[in-house]
């Protein structure tokens, strides 16, 4: 409680964020080799892409659950009650970032437990086993039978055929188990081994050497199938994608593009929609509480409904081929229903979500109540924290943590001052102003939204003045949040930043160099095709940067 109130007031950021705004040197990965020329036409004057290192990537909790269910589903009609691992959060990045993918002890517990549940279900499904083995087999045919069953399960679990070495060691294991246990128990133990294997909950992005291009490796067909599928659906590759991988078709860029198109058209786009969820941490709305007296309409079901509204809108942004960057930044429509319409400043009698124009007071996801409610305490908004998202996520200007001097210098809030006056006073020192000259003006506009995201023209301190001047190049004068976002929307660096975030998310790595050939190509297509989000996604998912890795 104290913390949250403090967070509203206490953010003060140090000198380290001084820079020429609008002309920053983009972040580059420090490690890595460059993409050699020769794969596709490059924009003139672009810089070589710094490729990702080969690695293993831990599946997100949702992706892991989707994978486990996909393995079990064909063999059982019982809905397994698997335990979902807890989220792993990644500092300054997306949760699927390679740097954050470290398996935890907690996850080990969960994976092992789930593997036991899944294995028991599979082993109990005598129909599937019998179909393969012709009834409970007897030695020596049972080993062949088990190998066949495991090959099926393993292919789904690992998203690739089992290797000869894997098959050999599973056969050895089965023989050992069989000396002590019955057929079904032995099979169950082996299933646990496969379903609890790191090969299931990590996915490989190691690649294979590229002929004639030393220093590079290319994702194998199965690795690419997984990379595409998890990026788009947050789940394992479907049969068509696996078939394309098996048939060697994913070697052809045109086929990759076709598969990307097919996945986009299929409409299961959780992986892509999660980008927007993580960009704003919108799912945290489920963990914040609001003062019941102050906000009686914010009932227990509201957080979940707000998140649904947000995620449905996010899905539309990636699923609707016509959705553009403008819809994300300044779209005037939102999905509302009767219990949450008031938070958007509108009304609805609908029990299911319906699209409503809310553009009088708010535009785009930067003003969605799910986001605004998270960046607030139980009573008050946290405008500075909201504004940090604009600086870091829209403008790609990194803000370092505040210096310790900020804590020592911080005064208690003066109740005679408006929040705007307090912010200005608190952050007027040289130490603070370097970053707060950006943060403060945006926070003034964000004061127009209360702790539950409702539009307000005055707060406890009086009438709100949402206008400000953002010291960008050129200077940006705005009258309110809508005016601010509309002007930001028109800036090239904001659109480049958006492209960069998508690269970072889809490749599970840091932000790319805006001047890299891959980023420039993506930006060019994004612009050429009317800033359609799907155009950007198709370009990145089909890019060399997505397929190539540094060679070890």
């Amino acid at each position: 409680m104290h913390c949250r109130l403090f967070l509203v007031l206490g953010a003060c950021f140090p000198l380290a964020c001084i820079g020429v705004i609008g002309n920053e040197e983009p972040n580059r990965d420090e490690e890595g080799s460059s993409l050699a020329a020769g794969d596709s036409p490059k924009p003139a004057g672009c810089r070589d892409e710094v490729l990702s290192a080969p690695t293993l990537r831990l599946l997100s909790p949702a992706a892991y659950m989707n994978t486990l269910n996909a393995v079990v589903a064909p063999y059982t009609r019982v809905v397994a009650n698997f335990v979902r691992p807890e989220e792993i959060f990644v500092r300054n990045g997306f949760r699927n970032s390679v740097s954050g993918t470290v398996v935890t002890a907690e996850m080990t517990d969960v994976v092992f437990k789930n593997a036991q549940v899944a294995a028991a279900q599979l082993a109990a499904n005598r129909g599937a086993i019998d179909a393969r083995c012709g009834g409970t087999p007897t030695a020596p045919v049972e080993l062949d039978c088990v190998t066949g069953v495991l090959a099926q399960i393993g292919r789904r679990a690992f998203r690739r055929p089992l290797t000869a070495a894997e098959i050999a060691r599973y056969q050895d294991a089965f023989k050992t188990l069989r000396k002590k246990w019955g057929f079904e128990d032995s099979l169950r133990a082996l299933f646990v081994r496969v379903l609890g294997s790191p090969s299931l909950f990590y996915r490989s992005e190691v690649g294979a050497a590229v002929s004639g291009r030393p220093g590079l490796s290319r994702l194998t067909a199965y690795e690419l199938a997984s990379a595409l599928s998890y990026a788009v659906t947050d789940g394992p590759p479907d049969d068509a994608l696996m078939a394309a991988a098996a048939g060697g078709m994913l070697e052809r860029p045109a086929e990759v593009q076709a598969q990307v198109g097919r996945l986009l058209d299929a409409g299961r786009l959780d992986g892509l929609a999660n980008f927007f969820k993580e960009l704003f941490g919108a799912d945290e709305v489920l963990t914040v509480s609001k003062d019941a007296k102050r906000f009686p309409a914010y009932t227990a079901k509201v957080p979940e409904l707000l998140l649904q509204s947000y995620m449905r809108q996010a899905r539309l942004l990636v699923a609707d081929p016509a959705s553009t960057f403008d819809d994300f930044m300044i779209g005037s429509k939102a999905l509302v229903q009767k219990d949450v319409a008031s938070f958007f400043g509108t009304q609805s009698a609908a029990t299911d979500f319906e699209m409503r124009d809310v553009g009088v007071t708010r535009v785009g996801l930067y003003t969605h109540p799910a986001f605004l409610a998270v960046q607030a305490d139980d009573l008050h908004p946290k405008p500075l924290f909201r504004s940090r998202f604009i600086v870091e996520r829209a403008l790609c200007i990194p803000l370092p943590p505040p210096p310790p001097e900020a804590a020592n210098a911080e005064p208690d809030p003066d109740p005679t001052l408006t929040p705007r006056q307090r912010f200005a006073k608190m952050t007027s020192t040289a130490t603070c102003s370097a970053c707060h000259r950006l943060l403060n003006p945006i926070s003034y506009a964000y004061e127009s939204f209360d702790a539950v995201g409702r539009y307000q023209t005055k707060d406890d301190a009086g009438r709100i003045d949402p206008s400000g001047v953002l010291p960008l190049d050129p200077e940006l004068r705005f009258s309110d949040m809508r005016s601010l976002l509309t002007q930001l929307n028109a800036r090239t660096d904001v659109r480049q930043c958006f492209v960069g975030h998508w690269f970072s998310y889809l490749l599970g790595r840091g932000m790319p160099d805006n001047e890299s050939c891959a980023a420039r190509s993506a930006f060019a297509r994004f612009e050429r095709e009317g800033w359609k989000i799907q155009s950007l996604l198709r370009e990145i998912l089909g890019s060399e940067a997505f397929r190539l890795r540094q060679a070890r």
Binding site: H2, T104, W181, V192, P403, P404, R552
Partner: protein, 458 residues
Amino acid sequence: METKATVRRSFCRRSFFRQLGSAALIAGPLLRAHRLMAAGAPKVVLFYVGGGMRVGGWQQTLTDGAALTGATLTNALAVFEKPEYKALKSRLTVFDAAYFRWAGAGVGAHSNSALCSLAAASDLTGRSSLDRELGRLIGGGAFPSLRLKVVRGRYDHSLPSVGGSASLSASFADPATAYAGIFAGVSASSPTPRDTAAPSFDADIIGQSLTECLAVVGETQRQLGKEAGRLVQDHCDSLRDLERRIQSTGTTPIAGCNPGRAAVATAPAYGMPGLDAAMDVYTRIAVNALACDRTRVVLYELWGDQPEDKAAFLDSSPANEMIIHRALWHGGGSVVDGGREVYTQQQIKDARVLYYRFLMERFARLLKQADDLQLLDDTIVLWVTNEPFGNHSFAPAGPCFYAGKGGGKFTVGKYLTNPVGINDVFTSLLRGVTGKDIPTFGEDGSGRPRYGVDGMLI
């Protein structure tokens, strides 16, 4: 500009010596991690209570270094004068003054926000940097052998029998789901390992998984090198722990560690008749989490964010008409509603004293349960709070207690008035528990060298 630099240098030097002096004074009674590396696996409980522990006039009267045994402690520690808890007094060490100033953590640059963040870690929502730091250090990266369990002892609006609408946390809204989170898949209906068929079959299953894991480590190392292999190796290490646990339950069960049965036992208790019962349930959860072999760190969080409703612990008090009001935690001023003074400062102070006395009793109960299970010698239970005088009392030092020997690495039974930075306590705590130095904890962004409280720069 030059003047500023000079001031800064002298400040740093002064701070350095002051800290070094403090550290040296405290070195004796606290950690001796580097000399005591041989002890077994210590466990940690962080017992966090939201702000305002230092109620005016509620001070200790002991002198620095005094032994707690034999002293008559009043006020905050009065509970340890009760017969049932008296023996625990000798297992307790008190810091009268733990400064939160340098805790930093990057959450709004605030010192005591480190502790807020520690509390936020129980949400595991990752909004603040320290909970991520904690997760990284304990859950995934630096100390893979430490297992963080989160127990939220929060009496929340959303508890069904209490009513109200606010939702606390998707995963820990009630004790039953807390169990699910804490014991990772073990629910009331799940059999315990002991209840399953033959232990040796369980051992074979886990053995298969471990073999598989090691095989993948080998392949990964071949493909990507040792560093990448280490990622998977962490998983194998966890499996080894799991193997040990399964073996234990098949032979010599660990006292108190029976998550499945405990969950069953918890279910009837989950009637939530009031704060007291809720706290008992959470205490049981915390002790169970401790008792399980793999659980090495428990964050037991008690928040003061109460519903505006009567609380049982106030019923027989002079403040029995007091509701649990926000002002209780914010600690300042009277509560005025519509120009009428609803609660006086004295009433608020009375209520705070009662509330913290109540919470201290929970602390004592937790210690006693742990001690009854012979866990306390292996455990250190750290009580921390923030904003000692209530809201916005940022810089002052506040009290901080710990109990238990943490596997023989911590000295108990002392009362210390020397100021100490709370982050330094944390660094020393982790060093003592893990035997590893950590270069940062809390990331205040200052580049300041992190002091331990055992006389070493980290």
